[in-house]
Amino acid sequence: MAEKRKYKKRYCKYCETKTDYIDFKNVSSFKFSLSERFKIMPRRLTGNCKRHQDMVTIAIKRARQTAMIPYIVDRQNVVTNPFEGL
């Protein structure tokens, strides 16, 4: 529920800044599109438009491949402070 309220205002943050390309190296730029467990947040919660959600998805998957953000965070693989240094 708390998470739902966090994303109450639905508008595309990237359309507002007129973003045409999301750099996968700049991890902090798509931080709000990730859940606590580093899953990609759905569009219905973040309010991203389809076009920008596709860009975010590609950027996140690239960042995962280059070990900048984890694929999963689970009980075996606990990250004490997930967003440190992002």
């Binding site: 390309y21 750099d23 190296k25 700049n26 491949q65 070990a67 900048m68 694929y71």
Partner: protein, 136 residues
């Protein structure tokens, strides 16, 4: 000539001279076949999000360059046989808007003070828990 970006991660066990040599190697392989490097982003030693070949940290470098598509095949082949490179990622910038983004990134890297918006200063993370890392 196509616009590309190449990011690669070097093993943390090397000395700074060895790291520089590996970076120079990659640079030479790009330039060998007429590739032109437009900008370099030195991201320094970063903590990896997950273990890669038992390493917890890696030295990140990114190149922005233009090259022929055939060059990429050769560069990637050389990277794959180089055991010191943990991870790499080549990104092609094909669409008009992507090329504009490529150019702004190059401009931002070449003169970091002129770009006003969140000039992402290369974060050189000297990990405080460096001693805890298994330098296997």
């Amino acid at each position: 000539m196509t616009h590309y970006e190449l990011l690669f991660v070097i093993k943390p066990t090397h000395t700074q001279e060895e790291i520089d040599a590996h970076i120079a190697n990659v640079k030479a392989s790009i330039e060998k076949d007429g590739g032109v490097i437009a900008a370099t982003q030195n991201m320094g030693m970063r903590k990896l999000a997950y273990e890669v070949e038992k390493h917890n940290r890696g030295y990140y470098t990114a190149y922005y360059f233009t090259a022929k598509p055939a060059t990429i095949i050769e560069v990637e082949r050389l990277i794959r046989i180089n055991e010191s490179i943990l991870k790499f990622m080549t990104v092609k910038y094909a669409k008009k808007k992507e090329i504009i983004a490529w150019e702004t990134a190059v401009k931002r890297l070449n003169n970091p003070h002129s770009a006003k918006e969140e000039a992402v200063a290369p974060k050189v993370e000297v990990a405080p828990e460096a001693t805890a890392d298994s330098e296997a």
